[in-house]
C-alpha cells in the first residue's frame, strides 16, 4: 500500500526554466509534508515543508503547493540550476503516529545547461 506516490520517475528541464515535481497521497490523516533532495552516496537533505493548514510555502527558489482536496502536492523550483540535479523525495507524516515519515518513490531531476 503506497500511501505516498511520485508517479514520474524522472524529469528533465533546461537551466533557467521551472521544474515542477509532483506527489500524490492517499492517507487523508497526513498533516505535514516535506521535500528532500538526495545525491548519490549522501543522506537526504531537507528542502522545504508545509503544514496541512497552509496551501503554499516559499523559500527562495523553492515553493511547495498543497491541494488537500486533491491529496496532491508539488514542488516548484525556479529558476532551475544544474546543481539542482538530484533525486527528489516527498514525504508525509501524521501527528499522532510518532512522527515517522512516509516517503514517495522519488523523482530524478536532471537540469541541463
Amino acid at each position: 500500500d503506497q500511501q505516498v506516490k511520485q508517479n514520474s520517475p524522472s524529469l528533465s528541464v533546461q537551466e533557467g526554466r521551472i521544474s515542477i515535481l509532483n506527489c500524490d497521497y492517499t492517507n487523508s490523516m497526513f498533516d505535514y509534508f516535506l521535500w528532500y533532495k538526495k545525491y548519490p552516496a549522501e543522506g537526504p537533505t531537507f528542502l522545504i515543508s508545509i503544514s496541512s493548514i497552509k496551501d503554499k510555502n516559499e523559500d527562495g527558489r523553492f515553493t511547495v503547493f498543497l491541494n488537500k482536496s486533491a491529496k496532491h502536492l508539488s514542488l516548484h523550483i525556479v529558476p532551475s540550476q544544474p546543481g539542482d540535479s538530484a533525486v527528489y523525495f516527498c514525504a508525509a507524516a501524521v501527528y499522532n503516529q510518532g512522527g515517522k515519515l512516509i516517503f514517495g518513490q522519488g523523482t530524478e531531476l536532471s537540469v541541463k545547461p
Binding site: A41, G43, P44, S49, G99, K100, L101, I102, F103, G104
Partner: protein
C-alpha cells in the same frame, strides 16, 4: 539543525554474519528512526528507536532480524542479523526534534552482503 554521524559508511559482509551500525546525533532529539533504501527504491521505515525501551517496528520488519538500541537521546544502533544478499541496501539513521519539524538524516551506511 542536527548533525548525524553514522558509522561505518560502508561495509562488505559475509552472509550469515551480523553488522551493527551506529548513529550519533549532535543534540538531544525526541525521535530517532532507521530507514532502508534498497537499490533504485524509496526510503522504507524499519523502526522507530525509543529511548530506554523496545523499538517500534514497521510491518515486515522484526526485532530478531533488526535489533535496535537507544540508550539515550543522542545515540542509537541498528544491527542487521544473519545477513543475506537481500539485505544489501543503504541504511539511514534519522532524527526529528519534534512534530511539524524537519527530519535530518545521516549520510547512510552502504551494506553489501556477499
Amino acid at each position: 539543525s542536527a548533525v548525524i554521524s553514522q558509522k561505518p559508511s560502508r561495509d562488505i559482509c559475509q552472509r550469515g554474519t551480523s553488522l551493527t551500525i551506529q548513529c550519533q546525533v549532535d543534540s538531544q532529539v525526541t525521535m530517532m528512526f532507521w530507514y532502508r533504501q534498497q537499490p533504485g527504491q524509496s526510503l522504507t521505515l524499519i523502526a522507530t528507536a525509543n529511548q530506554g525501551s523496545e523499538a517500534t517496528y514497521e510491518s515486515g520488519f522484526v526485532i530478531d532480524k533488526f535489533p535496535i538500541s537507544r540508550p539515550n537521546l543522542t545515540f542509537s544502533t541498528l544491527t542487521v542479523s544473519n545477513m543475506s544478499p537481500e539485505d544489501s541496501s543503504i541504511y539511514l539513521c534519522s532524527s526529528r526534534a519534534g512534530y511539524n519539524t524537519e527530519a535530518f538524516f545521516g549520510q547512510g551506511t552502504r551494506l553489501t552482503v556477499v
